[in-house]
Symmetry: C2
Subunit: 192 residues, 2 copies
């Protein structure tokens, strides 16, 4: 997840025609959490630390996201990367939603994460979107957090960490990487 130093993952005034919020593109210039495979290829080709982290992002074996991430991205054309299975959280009847071969609609985050972990095998699962990450964290099914901290303060917008219960979740810091363009990649494992 790409985040400003002050904790925002989108600018203010998000909407259907303004998916990243005002100025939100500043967080996605490295295509860290962009709209699928096409967006990240340029950065991967650059190599370096940011390219390495993007390689990891694209080496995941399954994707979990909410419809609020999936649909504005055009369902990533039905294939986020490399044909890995995609699990989309929704409370709607799947029969009413567009069907894609790789996409399974699931109505709770624990089921989505369990199935995604099974499908991914030895690989990691990519959790895509702040709302899904918050749900997975609250449900105790998020194992790791990778933040790409962008050297900017947003001041206003949508926060990654919002609406969590007032309970301490202890973390193990597992890796800090200083990427290009002032981006710092912070990796933590959730302690349980």
């Amino acid at each position: 997840m790409s985040m400003s130093l002050d904790g925002f993952i989108a600018g203010p005034n998000e909407g259907p025609d303004n998916g990243l919020g005002d100025g939100g593109h500043r967080l996605h210039e490295l295509a860290m959490t962009g709209g699928g495979a096409d967006d990240v290829e340029a950065t991967r080709r650059l190599g370096g630390v940011n390219g390495k982290v993007l390689d990891e992002f694209m080496a995941t074996g399954a994707v979990v996201a909410g419809r609020g991430t999936f649909e504005p991205a055009g369902g990533w054309g039905g294939d986020h990367h490399d044909g890995v299975p995609i699990f989309i959280l929704t409370r709607h009847d799947p029969a009413d939603l567009r069907q894609w071969p790789l996409v399974t609609y699931v109505n709770d985050v624990t089921t989505a994460m369990t199935r995604a972990k099974e499908a991914a095998g030895d690989k990691n699962v990519l959790v895509h979107g702040a709302g899904t990450a918050q749900l997975a964290l609250a449900a105790g099914v998020l194992d790791e957090i990778e933040l790409h901290v962008i050297p900017v303060l947003f001041g206003q917008g949508r926060r990654l960490f919002e609406g969590l219960a007032p309970e301490h979740v202890e973390l193990e810091r597992t890796r800090i990487l200083e990427g290009e363009a002032g981006v710092t990649h912070m990796h933590y494992r959730v302690q349980r």
Copy 2:
């Protein structure tokens, strides 16, 4: 400033008898932003990365804080460290407030920072407290940000970055240090 990974510098339910909020001591176990010289000596004696950062903290040449930080800390006994001048923001008439030889009461943040920078000479100025840091940032008189990111999620509490204007403030990442106990020290310079 010691901050949880999710951006909190105090737990919920802050009050006169609960200065750090519920569970807020978790952020101050390294005495990074504690109640003055006595609190930090133990960590400094440990050396290491955290000790080095504390040495820098204690090598500042002036302190700026608000009354909400200053008074609950007992005015640091009138001497935060090494007898450096202390500038306390307040809208009250200074004549009504307790007088200390090293303390000057000032009613706006720009004046406080200007005088503190003059007083500090070649040394840095320590800005103590989230409210003062926010005011200094908004007024364009905060030059650097040093965050001590503690490996914990708080979920609720008081945020460091709150109530800022919806304007991007670009930062230059100047130093990332991996301290002991999972603490990551992130240093940025504000770009203007």
